[in-house]
């Protein structure tokens, strides 16, 4: 059993028309035993950037704290908010620092560029040592990533409005985690638009 499958969990992010969505399940397990059903894996980095992390839960918490520190330092020094692409590179370098003793997480970044840069949608994912993937459509990570890839490929289409994107990402996640034993117990979806972020909790198969 791989260390990445100890706690379970999955995250997916998708691009829409002037919006992005990021969603994850809520399970925290210890192999087959479910320990918590309220384990959030997605965190706001700024108002317009959200970071999701699947993998070993202790590293999810540790990295959440490290990124919070690094982004705060960036904001203080640069006197402006960090851009999504810059943040993705920050994630990458933080992970590569531990190249030969890595953090066991796969991060997913979803956000909109600042208004001065046109509020463009942005998503990215990385592996455990920070190799970035700048997808144009969707990114997936976690124990249900094979399932997520399959469904996302089928359901995603370009230029989905925020409401449509919410439906698409929700269906993608719900059906994928239903097929994965280590993910599930509910889901949370964040849809990020230039005006606001809409967060919805989904109730699926609670098993």
């Amino acid at each position: 059993m791989s260390i990445m499958e100890l706690n379970g969990g999955s995250v997916v992010a998708m691009v829409g028309k002037n919006c992005v969505a990021i969603a994850s399940d809520m399970r925290l397990g210890n192999q087959a035993l479910t320990v918590a059903t309220n384990f959030e894996k997605i965190f706001p980095v700024t108002e317009r950037i959200y970071l999701g992390m699947a993998g070993l839960a202790t590293d999810v918490a540790t990295l959440r704290e490290r990124f919070r520190f690094r982004v705060n330092m960036y904001t203080i020094k640069e006197e402006r908010e960090i851009e999504p692409e810059t943040f993705a590179h920050l994630v990458s370098s933080t992970l590569y620092e531990r190249r030969f003793g890595p953090y066991f997480i796969e991060p997913v970044v979803a956000g909109l560029t600042s208004p001065s840069k046109g509020s463009q949608p942005f998503i990215a994912a990385a592996d455990v040592i920070g190799c970035l993937n700048f997808a144009k459509d969707f990114v997936v990570c976690g124990t249900a990533s094979p399932e997520l890839f399959g469904i996302a490929e089928g359901l995603w289409e370009p230029d989905l409005e925020p409401e449509e994107l919410f439906e698409t990402i929700s269906q993608t996640l719900m059906n994928a985690i239903d097929r994965d034993a280590f993910s599930g117990w509910g889901a949370v979806v964040h849809v990020i638009t230039p005006e606001k972020v809409i967060t919805r909790t989904l109730k699926g198969r609670m098993d």
């Binding site: 925290l28 320990v35 309220n38 202790t58 918490a61």
Partner: protein
Amino acid sequence: MECQFALTGKGYVIIAADTTAARSIVKMKHDEDKIKALGSHLLMSYSGEPGDTVQFAEYIERNIRLHQIRYLHPLRPSSAASWIRRQLADSLRSQSPYAVNLLIGGYDVATSEPHLYWIDYLGTIAHIPFAAQGYGSYFVLSLLDRYHNPEASLEEGLDTLRRCIAEVEKRLIVALGKFKVKIVDKDGVREIEL
């Protein structure tokens, strides 16, 4: 074969831990206290590698007390749990990691809410209404799924706890003897007889 569980209720957290200290087939002690009071309104039960457990628990206890001496105000349960988790997470990738699992129960005097945290030796943290560590969790978690009531009175909570202990006594292959039960509520930390 150690067993701990905890549950929250209306204005309290109950933590129960077995009192057996054993090595291989020998039960050395039957009155071991595995629940430490970290502060006026904070309890921590621990289990895991013998030696690591007490070393880590005392280290945490002293540092929480130091914080209170330095800053006058005691740490709130969420802050204490976060700090304790950080100690375990830092220890994980060190030369000799602590192999200790914890349940941290506290009463936040600022918001008058009880809080319970499950922390394992890796530094995984879960903020949940009821929790268990050890083999007992396989028996007790499903019972608590069914019978736990977050708004229960203390008496109801203790009844649920008795149910859990009865189940462990019945179905766990090792006889664990008495359980030590401690409660934290607005009046602080106290031990009770079930």
